[in-house]
Symmetry: C2
Subunit: 271 residues, 2 copies
């Protein structure tokens, strides 16, 4: 986000907040921000815009902290993969004395299994969908500013409620992540030498951070759990068709998978 | 295979056999073979080498047909994704009057979801593992010739029994394929616009041909069915951990997926 904002001139000055002073030099060296500090309070002091890009379980806390120090009409937004729990916690603790100060939840549908400042890509959001989740408490002006920010980074912005968001991404992101991880986990190490591009593609996202994903899954547990049970039933349908050597049933199952895969391929950017 | 053999000068003349005369011109235009015909018997006449690259359910029939017409000491090999049923059928019908005439089962662990002669890649096997599945009936000379062929196309050749092969690829290829297809199938079309690279990677192989994969799965039904039930249990373990909000169990499951994914990443070519 910092790199995209700088490259597109969306802010005069971008301050990056790191978790510990030891990381300051490493982030400075990447040139993704104008200034780096481990002092979040100082960094937020008088800021017009704060983007909270921490793991989902700490976003609400940092958003509320930022609200105490940012400019009175600042926009606070995030990049978390879940929304309902974050929005509820933020709205429960939001200060009532701001002059338009507002939080607008955001989830850019773009990412990479690589982490750290060195992996920054200024065009990561270019053409990607970003979901904003305003509520009845969101001032129209703040929503417009959030839209301008994410569109300014090249995103296509859509709006939905926090609950709608969480149900949708359970199926488009969280369940596929668990599936990738489970496929990897059930592959005995002794046969890893006999994997090819199919295994590599199917398991790629399993390289993501377990602690980050633990919190994402916990924050969206019911929709994900329901999606996993539906996926499990689908696998059992394959196994049952195999047990009775039912080629017609197998082909019907495979055709449905291909149809949905190709329907996405036609409409969406990327492959 | 034809393009790789030509580019590396592994045969003096490569004849491509197509299913119907209407396809002759299309394959000729791609320049992957020296000659194209729909007459398999004529193409095999006196051939020193026949590579049967049809769907798995027809490989044995074509290998036996080729054996009737190829040179008396010809090598017949294949590129099928399953081995035990093919080898059993080939050995049951193999002519006893050949002068070294032999079939050596092969499975190059390389491929692409794209199909047709236009998608040919001469370097597809470069650095890929190819599994050969000789049996007690395989003449050492034929095995050496098969090894020279697949190594000549750039593969790293390993040998195992047909049953060992089928059990290994059930877990490294067939189960992941079904998982990819199932993840795609359980994604409602209404939320396809909210997919990103994670969904795209995890479901990529679901674009493969349903009729081709139906036959692969049927020919390896027991190992695949067992693998799918194991995968289904793994997904149920995630769902149960989510239902009880058990972050420790979730992280342990995610860590195991990452560990196996990364173990492969370190040792194998590609990503």
């Amino acid at each position: 986000v910092a790199l995209a904002v700088r490259q597109r001139g969306l802010a005069k000055r971008v301050i990056g907040v790191v978790r510990s002073p030891e990381r300051v030099g490493r982030v400075e060296a990447c040139g993704v921000v104008d200034e780096v500090t481990a002092d979040a309070v100082a960094a937020c002091g008088g800021a017009d815009l704060v983007v909270v890009a921490t793991p989902v379980d700490t976003i609400a806390r940092w958003a509320l902290e930022a609200a105490q120090h940012a400019a009175p009409d600042a926009l606070v937004t995030d990049a978390g993969s879940t929304k309902a729990a974050i929005i509820a916690a933020v709205e429960a603790g939001w200060p009532s004395d701001g002059d338009g100060l507002a939080f607008v939840g955001a989830h850019p549908l773009a990412g990479d299994h690589r982490t750290g400042p060195e992996a920054s890509q200024g065009d990561l959001f270019d053409g990607a969908t970003t979901i904003l989740t305003p509520t009845s408490a969101t001032p129209p002006k703040a929503l417009a500013a959030a839209r301008a920010l994410w569109e300014g980074m090249g995103s296509v912005v859509v709006e939905m409620t926090p609950d709608e968001h969480d149900r949708a991404v359970a199926l488009t992101s969280h369940v596929p992540h668990v599936a990738a991880s489970a496929v990897a986990a059930v592959t005995p190490e002794a046969v890893l030498g006999y994997t090819a591009s199919g295994w590599a593609d199917t398991t790629r996202v399993a390289a993501g951070s377990p602690s980050l994903w633990r919190e994402i899954l916990l924050a969206n547990s019911r929709p994900v759990s329901e999606g996993l049970r539906r996926l499990s039933q689908e696998l059992d349908a394959y196994a049952a068709a195999l047990d009775r050597q039912d080629g017609v049933a197998l082909e019907t199952l495979l055709e449905e998978g291909r149809r949905i895969r190709e329907a996405r391929g036609r409409d969406a950017l990327g492959s």
